[in-house]
Structures are given as structure tokens and as C-alpha cells.
Symmetry: D2
Subunit: 372 residues, 4 copies
């Protein structure tokens, strides 16, 4: 198999013209699409309907392009929309294709590989708790196996889309006599992302499952995954997972690397991920290197400490702009200053996704030569 | 004379404890303070009262420390508060001192020099028009002369604080039969900053005064200063100006450099300014270099084109967060990723301050050795 | 014919379950729907995608229910989504049906009547100018004729959905050598609404067309319609019009009345409209009267004077919340305090729709007895 | 004694010109001022610095007018600033004076009376818990005794200003090994207001102290005061209390009444409070009645149920505008529609202040004749 990644700018949440054009030209095979990650321009918080609007529009378009029903598209393709293009971030879709390859992979060369999986739907009282952790870990392992990714060291990015709790769902749990992990909708997004990330960490051996318990979720910030990126949305009840890594069973000229930002401005970590992908970090990047950069995926979060390298930030005390919006703008600016583009998949809410205030950063790049 | 710059973190708009502590320790001579630039944590737009609160608090504190009246402090010291610490920007004050120096300056070595000036108060109908341009240009020249800065090449940063038009002032003009350059308060901040920046450009020979006219303000984006930084506030009626440059008549171990960012993520320009100051741009900076970085001052603005290097941004279409807030977060992130600190004086609204979507960036640094 | 109005609560922009249920039960005939007005929960400003999402969802649902294509639905039904449910306003759809009636109308009794029309698509440079005014006036007259509404006195509410100018459309006009009525997207919504309302006023004889010119739009606030309600959206290029009045040619138990609020808290005007509809205004309404109230439609706007009955408001100086959002919350609260419900169609931006700071308020009610 | 109330419009948080004018004219005796309640135009949430700016400005002005030190002013006068003038609410100060009266009170006639008290400073771990409840109850009783208010039935309004927990204070508690009632600053405002209101309820016999415990705060919404209004701010560590009632020991032509709104649009409750004060509720009020209305004080809150009279509201799911801002706009609109003025002291956050989604509303009015 061969993995392809298309970065398609979007003029709005319902802009599927770019997708249609690529399909029309033959550059993209709609029936081979396995996942679409999107940055949409809502607030990325509770009342962000751009995610649902984009998902609905993409599903309708892909159903028309493939002749499948909407339900089939929904079951076969992972749609992960992350709201929030604060600062200079640019709305876009990342379309992942898995294409059969006539030639066998070059021996000894690992290439970009993708795998998908889903958990069962969660009851409201399971969100943000060990049930969500365990089901996510199992799904990550299943996705790795399905995509012939040999082991945790070859996994560089795991995207999870997870549910949130609306007031209606919180009340449903209460009526059934259950407590929930978060009593407010906004807070529920955090615990759902946190439990999902811990599930990834368990699957990859980053965190010991036996040491985990409900109370650790969103509290013990020493526990985290270096690869997970979780995004919460109102439009689903289960966890949907995309594992991205390198595999000797796949071919093609793409590869993925990653590192972990220790704080929101840790571009040294980004520089290391670029270097591992064969791109020399520089201000600015050389044009040839820029051209090889296919996608950047990172998490953003306001540090709970209230400061960055000792200097106070005001994100957590701002009642006009949610902290996650500040954080995306900040990390987007930091990464764009090196990458030279604002077409970056920076998503907010990095609970257990890297250390407090930091987060994973992954680079998908075109390989320089055969030997890399 | 010798110029000193103190970068003092602020826990809130009325936090003058840091100033008092420095004065108490003798590290800062309150009677020698010529200007205070501050980043405060309001929205940086119309209803940002953190600027006024900080100014009032600083004036009261400096009056108490110097034994002067509030009116004397107001007449002798320039207070320029810039609201908005979006993304990770950290609230702080930059206190500029001009201290008599026992020793004569080292021949052939230019050191940091500062000069202040004020225009007359402007009538509402003058704001954003040629009257404001001309008065600002004259004041910049006066400040250069007063501080023995030899010529435009030695000027690296000109801060202007300028008035805005409240509804009351707009109606006052209308009643007197005058039109105004902007009918809305928020828009008036833009034209006031724009005319002020053009005034700087005229003084420094960057723009030919004879080619200017009212209609060019905030419209002809090809006209701009490479040094100006203008900030609008409700608390004043005149323009207040701080010219910062290097001068052979001054001594001390500080110097200032600058460059112009062509867009919001142009950290190559920042890297050049750092290099000119003897600091090697790297991700991250070497610890010794970090220690020599005293202050970074930059402008931020959403490009009117609606895009950054060809990728659409959503700043101008966002009705939840003003574009200037997005822009400060973005540029703050871009600069912090190189500088390694969020204690950056990034102010919004860059009309005629650098090219569309870009802006000047200045670096105040401690000199490495005698010879620089 | 008989006009029916269904007020359907919405759990989200894409919640069409209520519509489907009514159609399923036979209470609503989907093939007879002529218009859907909706209050959706976005910000009601530029980047409000809830309007487009709701329209798309409603169109898909009505296409499925009627067996028509999406294009047919779009051509036959008017969809007018007004964003913004600030304060306590409750998201809902108002579905207007025109149903053939077996019995002839009772002589001498006028009943609720509805008529629709559309203008041609406008070029960017026509928006907010006399071309839009004239085309709207013609369309209003056409809708009156089509629905047998005898004259202006029988018209009580005219809803216009009108286009806005995106950055792309503004630049398109500039490239073609045209100026536009507003250089900023947000401002373009105002001039589009203003020109549309003046078109209604011309059609109803409220304003003399010969006295109008481009410069009067959004400037001469003495010119206004007492019936118009205009709402701007990104999803259309033409004006779409719904005229609602009473007609002797229609039957049924519904009627419409209206009055004009002189300011945002002028509930005396609302009380008069209720009285004309046979409902005794009281705090609270009698239960029987509440039950007869089918819909309330009103406009909300921050007064340009900056005050309400002499007391300063802060809506126009607030850079955190757009003025139109404040105004909807305020008028929604004022009307709900009398109506006893928050299911109110209060839309923002009342340029030339009632006097400055006020606006039309219309009441659709069930008639008490035959004789009314 | 005689209580006087001055309602002074404010052009900004630091506008003390109205206060100075009244003092200059002799209409107000600055040395007799016991309390100033203010509506200021910040966001009313965590980073609202307009409250502190207004307090600082008023203190400086009153110190200058009375010749007292700032510390004396601070110890003798209660300053309670409530941020948030959403919708049409108009910034203003309510200045309460207690003036010695030459004549004895008319026997059998109760007039407006005011009493103040303060608790000790609370440790972070006490905020939102029984320690705050008990100390507040004791202070309310002390204020009643000091002002000769005979019993709970004569108390109509109790204003409490209470502290919040900043990140620094939360961490201080954690370092000392204590938990806190709320881990987030914004949430801490709620529990502080809630515990304060329960303290008022205990003092007035509205809630049985023996039934209270830490876990009931902000959870058991069946427990509430019908008179309490609590407002949280960063600028104090203790609770400050103003009790307002009627007393036979006081004279003057003012009186106070109150009722409880069952939801945000319950103007029937407001109508009852007006009636009790001798004002006929009408749409609009008769001019003579309007003239007698001196002040309206009310609480606003988004109902946790997510609906108002069965219709969904979007306040709790809005990540762009905090729920308390929506609620103030809504209740302000509802009350203004009856009162005919937007100079209303509507403050947000009504935990245990009236039922869920509702809140107390108090009316201070000029008495019609002797006999009332």
C-alpha cells in the first residue's frame, strides 16, 4: 500500500470544491480515502458548528463522488474536524488516501502508513474515565495491526476524535443515577480528550495502565502521550482513531516524524522533528525544503502554571477569549515562523498530550532520496 | 548621557510593585525616568481600560517616588500603554531612563539614546489627517535633536501614542460642522495610528511629504515607515513621541537595531535585527545570547489581502475576536519562538508601519564587547 | 388560500426533527411550504455559519419530504436564517405554509396572507446602493400582487434576506474598476440591509423614491420603513422577499399586526400591536392570550446616539461583543418580559427599519372570534 | 437618621465628575457617604479591571473631598463595583448617604435605612465554604443591629462583595496542603457568591444553618435568599456587606421593597415590587411614577436547566460570550421594558440568590405621601 496526503485549502466549512477538483483530475481517488482531518474556522469550543457543517459537506461530496450512501461513507472514512484558526492559522483539509501499490516496497525503507479504528459508543458516565481509556487503547492497537505498523517506535501521530457531554447528556446520566466526569459541557471536552490521550499512551507503552485510575484524568499532568492528538466534538458518541506511522510494508515517498514541545514556544522540538525528516530547520526554510513539507500537526494548550518560561500569560484569566483559542494562535505563530506557512493542523486542548503547556508536533514530509 | 531600559513584569494593570522595588534598591532612579512603555492585558481596542488604569497607577507611584505632583509627572514622562496580551504575550512595563554619565562616551561608539516630544492637542477633525501627520513629523525631529541622534539612519524605533475619537468627540466635530476621518470609534484608532506613522515616515525621509494628502491615510499601503510604532488610546488628545536610536553622544552598554517584517511570520527579518545586535539567531538562542536581549518591540497587523503567503487567514472575517487581537497573538508567537521569551512589546494596528500585514521589529540588546 | 405558521424549536442549526415530525403527523404539508424563517445560534455577524448550515439542512430535509431536487426546493421556498440568540432568545424555525382552502373566505374578514419574490443577483458594486433599493421595491410590489394584499395598509411585515460583501467580492469589484458601498465585510451587511429596507419603504409609500440617493443609505436615519426586516447573509447574491399581511382573499384564523418601537425598550409599541391583535397586554399575559400568540418578529439595533432615553449605553464601544449582539439580547429581553416567551424572531441590524435605535415589531396571532 | 440615594451616570470607570459636582453643589455630603454601588462596563468576569479602576478613582476622589486618607476612606465606605453593562445597561454609581436628621421620624412610618459590615479576610480554602457562610451571616446581623432594622421582614436587599480565587491564591492553598472549593478562577467567583448568599439567607432565617454544609454550596439550588445580591471581585479578601431595609428609626421620603423573579423574564415579580412601593406597573410607567423610581437592583443568571419556560436558551453553551453576560443583558432588557430606564443595577451570578435562573429584584422609590 501507499499513503498519500493532500493538503487542500478551504474557503469555508462547506467548501468541497478543492476535493472535487482533485478527484476530477485523478490526483485523488475518492474511493481510497480513509480519513479527512480538517481545520475549520469556528471557535473550537462548545458551540462550534463549523465542524459539523464541514463533516456534513464532506460526507455529501464523497458520497456523490463514490456513489456510496452517506451511511457507507460515514462507516468507511474517518472525519476529524478541529475547530479554531486563531492567529494566522489557515482553514484546510488533510485528506489521507491508502492506495494499492503495484510495486513491492523497497526493502529496508519504511514509508508513511495509516490505520483507522473506532471504539463503541460511550455512555455519558464513561466519558473522561477508564472505560474510555481502555477502549481507546484497544482501538489504537487494532489500527496498528491493521496497518502493519511494527511497533510503538514507528507510531508518530495518533489522532483521536472523541465525544463531549452536552447538557442533555449530562442530565441523562443524572436521571439514570450516574455521576459524570465533568458537570459542564466545556469541561467535558477536556476530560474526554484527556482519557483518549491516556488510551493512546497505554497502547504505545508510554504510560502503565495499571497505574491509571479515573482521578488521574486531567489531574496528573506527569502522565502523557508523545504522539496523541485528541479533539472533542458534539457530533459523535464513540472515539474514532487514526494512527499514522512508518512501515516497511508500505511504499511511497512520504514519511512522518515527531517530537514533543515542552512549552508553547518550543520550536527547538519542531526543529528536531524537521531534521529527522531530512529538512534543515532555518529562518526561513530553503525553498526546496519548504516544498517537501507536506503537513504539520501539533497540539496547543495554555500551561496551567499560568506562565511560559517564567513569564506570566493571561490565557487562563481571560473571560473574553477562551484559553484554547489563545493557545492555538500562539503555537500556530510559533510553528509558522519556522515552517513558513500557516497551513498547519494545530488543535487545542492538549490534556495528557505532551507535558503541561506543551504538546506533540508531527511532520509529514516528502523523502529526499531513496536512501533516507 | 546613558540610556537604561528596565523590563518589569506586571501582575496586573495596577501592579507597580516591581517599579517600587527597583527604585528602592537603587537600580532605577525614578527622577531620571523619561518614558514607560507598557503591555497591559485589556483587549487593546476601544473599551480597554487597562491602559488608563496602568497609566494612572504608574503616575501615582512615580509621583510618590519623586515627590512631584501628578501634573509634573504627566508633563515630564511619556506613558505609552499598549493593550492586548493575546496568545502568550506577557504583561510588562519597559522603563526608559536617561542617566547622566560621569565618563565621556567612547569615541566612535554609538550607544542607545532616547528622546521625547509631544504635539499640541488635536481637534477631532484633525485626527487621521495631514494636520496630525505634520505635527507628528515636527515632533519627531524635535525629539531627535534633543537627544543628539545624528540622523534618520540612527533612528531604529519611534513610538507614538495618539488619540482616538469617541462618540462624544465625533459628535462634537459634527456639531461644529466638521467631518471626521472615521465615523466609528474603532476605525478612528486606525486613522490616528496611520497618520501618526506617516508623520514619522516624513520626519525620517521614508515618505515624501509633498506626495501625501488626507485620502492616502490608511488607503495607500505602499507608504510606510520602517521604524514607527503607533498606539491609540482614549486618554489623550495629542501625540506623544518617543524616539529610540543610537548616538555617539551617549554611552552605556545598550544598543538598538531594527528590521521590517514583510508579513506576520517573517522571522527572517527578526533574525537580521538580532544579528545586527550581535546575537546569533538560533532555535533556541544560546543562553548567553538570551541574556543579552533586553527588549523586543514589534507591530502586528492582519494583512488586508486576507492571506499570508497565499494561505487564507480568518482574522478579518471574525466577528468574535477583533483582527488586531488575532494579529498580536500570531506575531507574538512567531517572535517568541525565536526570542525564547513572551515578554515582548507587540502592539497592534500597523497602519503605515511597515508593509501591509507586516511591520517593524526592533531589538534592544546589551553589547557584547567594546568594539561592536 | 389559507396561511399557516408553525413555530418549531430547534436543538441546533441542523435540527430538522421537528419539521419532519410535523410533516409525518400531517400537521404540516411540506409541498405547501413557501418560506422558513429561522433564528439560529451563531453570532449573527460575518463568520456565522449556523445560517448556512441550517439552510442546507432544511433544504435537504424538505427535498426528501417532497421528492423535489435541492434546486427545486431552493427556487420554490424562501429560507431566511437570522443568526444570533443572545440573552434568552431561543433557536427556532417559523415555517409559513400557503394551503388551498375549500371554503371561500368570510366576506369582510381579512386573514393572514403571505407572498414571496426575488430580485436578480446584484453585482458587488450595486449592494447598498440605489440599484438594490429599486429592485427590492419592485419585488415587494410583485409579492403583494401575487398574494392579493390590497395595499400598503394591509402589509405588516416584510422580511428581506440580502447579500453581503466578502473580501473576495470587494476585491472583484475593485479589479473591475468599481467602488463599493462598504470596504469592510461587516459594514457591507449594514448597507445591504439599509438599501433593502429603503426598497420596502419605497414600495409601501413610506419614503419618496425621488428623494433617495446612494449617499442616504445608512446615513439619513429619518428615512425608514415601519414594516421592513432585513437580514444579511453570505449565502446569496440576490434579495429574497417575504411579504406578510392581511387579505380578504385569504381565510384561516390567523392575522398579523405591527407597530414601531421608538427605542429598544419601547414595549408600549409592542403592547399596541398586541392590542390590535386582540391580546390584552399585561404582566404577565393571561394564559388564554398567551396561547393565541403565534409569532413575534422584531428588529434590534444599538442607537447611534449612544444612549437610550438619555442614559449612555456601551454597545457601540464594546470591542468584545458586537453591538448587534447586545441589541438582540436587549430587545429580546424587553419583548420576552411582555410576551412571556423567548421564542421570538428578533433580528439585528435595523438600518432604515424603524427609527434609530428602534424598529418594527409584528405580531401573528390566532383570532379570538369571527368578528375581529 | 435619613438615608439618601444618588444615582449618578458614569462616562467611564474613572468618571468621578458627577460625584464631585453633587458634592460641590451641596446635594451630597461626601463625609456622610456609607456605600457606593457601581455598574461598570467591563466583562464582569475574571479579567474585569473596570471594577478596580472605578473603586480606585472613587476612593481618590472621596479622599480629596473629605480630607481623609485613602486608608480611612477604604475603612469607612463600602465600594461594591459590579462589572457588566451588556445589552442596554447604563454605567452608573449609586451613592448611599446616611445623614443625621434634625426632626424625629414620623411615628408609625418606616423609611429607608442602611447598615454596613465586614467580615475578616478569608483564607483561600475558606472561600465558597461554611466559614464564609457563617462569617457573612454574623456580619449581616451586625449590620441590621447597627442600622436599627427591626427584623428580617424589614430587610429588602443585602449586597455582598466577596473575594475570588486567583491562580496565585489557589496555588497558595495547595502549597499549604489545602483543597479549595473551586480549582478555576471563574468557578471560584460562583462559589464565593453562593456561600455569601447562603450567609445572608441564614441571617434572615430563609435557610436553616443546621442543614447547610460545604457540599450544598452551588449545588442545592432549592436553598436561596430572596434578598441577597453577591458580587465577586479580585480586589478584596473579605466579605463586605450593605444591608438595605426600612426602619421606624429612620426618616426621609425613600423606601425599599422587593420580590423574587422566578425566571429571567418574570416581570410580574418586578410589577409586584413596584406596586408595593406605590408605583403602578404599566407599559409605560406614568411620568409621575417614573420620577419616583430612584433605583432598581436585581440579579441575573442563566438557568441551569438550559431553558426558560420550556424554550431552550444558548447561554450555557456559548463559548464566545460568558453566560453571565447574556443573563445581564436579558434581565436588563426585561426590567428596562417596564422601568423605562436602563440605569439599572443588574448584577450577574445569582447562585443561591433567588431560584435557579431567577433572582431578587428590589425597588428604591420616593414615597408618594405620608400614609404609605
Amino acid at each position: 500500500m501507499q499513503a498519500r496526503v493532500h493538503r487542500i485549502p478551504a474557503a469555508g466549512p462547506d467548501d468541497v470544491a478543492g476535493l472535487r477538483d482533485l478527484a476530477g483530475s485523478g490526483a485523488l481517488r475518492p474511493d481510497r480515502v480513509v480519513a479527512v482531518l480538517g481545520k475549520t474556522e469556528g471557535n473550537g469550543c462548545v458551540n462550534d458548528f463549523t465542524r459539523g457543517f464541514a463533516s456534513a459537506s464532506l460526507k455529501t461530496a464523497l458520497a456523490a463522488l463514490t456513489g456510496r450512501t452517506a451511511a457507507e461513507v460515514d462507516a468507511q472514512i474517518l472525519f476529524v474536524m478541529s475547530g479554531g484558526t486563531e492567529g494566522g492559522l489557515s482553514p484546510h483539509f488533510l485528506v489521507f488516501e491508502a492506495v494499492p501499490d503495484a510495486a513491492a516496497p523497497t526493502p529496508g525503507v519504511k514509508s508513511l502508513a495509516v490505520g483507522c479504528a473506532r471504539t463503541r459508543a460511550f455512555a455519558p458516565e464513561e466519558v473522561g474515565r477508564m472505560q474510555q481509556v481502555a477502549a481507546t487503547a484497544a482501538a489504537v492497537r487494532a489500527a496498528m495491526a491493521a496497518s502493519s505498523i511494527a511497533g510503538p517506535d514507528d507510531v508518530h501521530y495518533v489522532q483521536v476524535k472523541c465525544p463531549l457531554l452536552t447538557r442533555a447528556r449530562i442530565e441523562q446520566a443524572h436521571r439514570a443515577g450516574h455521576g459524570v466526569a465533568a458537570e459542564e459541557t466545556y469541561a467535558s471536552m477536556g476530560v474526554s480528550r484527556g482519557a483518549s490521550a491516556l488510551g493512546v499512551a497505554v497502547a504505545l507503552g508510554e504510560v502503565d495502565a495499571s497505574a491509571l485510575h479515573d482521578a488521574a484524568v486531567c489531574r496528573d499532568t506527569t502522565l502523557f502521550s508523545r504522539c496523541a492528538s485528541a479533539s472533542a466534538g458534539v457530533e459523535l458518541l464513540e472515539n474514532q482513531i487514526l494512527v499514522v506511522g512508518n512501515s516497511a510494508a508500505w511504499s511511497g515517498d512520504l514519511l512522518i516524524t515527531h517530537d514533543v514541545m515542552q512549552d508553547a514556544i518550543d520550536t527547538a522540538a519542531f526543529a528536531r522533528a524537521l531534521s529527522q525528516a531530512g529538512i534543515t530547520p532555518a529562518l526561513p526554510l530553503a525553498p526546496a525544503d519548504s516544498a517537501r513539507l507536506v503537513a504539520v500537526l501539533a497540539k496547543a494548550e495554555a500551561s496551567r502554571s499560568g506562565s511560559i518560561r517564567g513569564a506570566r500569560h493571561t490565557m487562563l484569566d481571560d473571560s473574553d477569549i477562551p484559553a484554547s483559542r489563545h493557545a492555538r494562535a500562539l503555537v500556530g505563530g510559533a510553528l509558522a515562523s519556522v515552517a513558513g506557512t500557516t497551513l498547519l493542523f494545530v488543535s487545542g486542548g492538549a490534556e495528557h498530550q505532551g507535558p503541561d503547556g506543551g504538546g506533540p508536533v508531527a511532520v509529514i514530509a516528502r523523502r529526499l532520496g531513496e536512501g533516507l
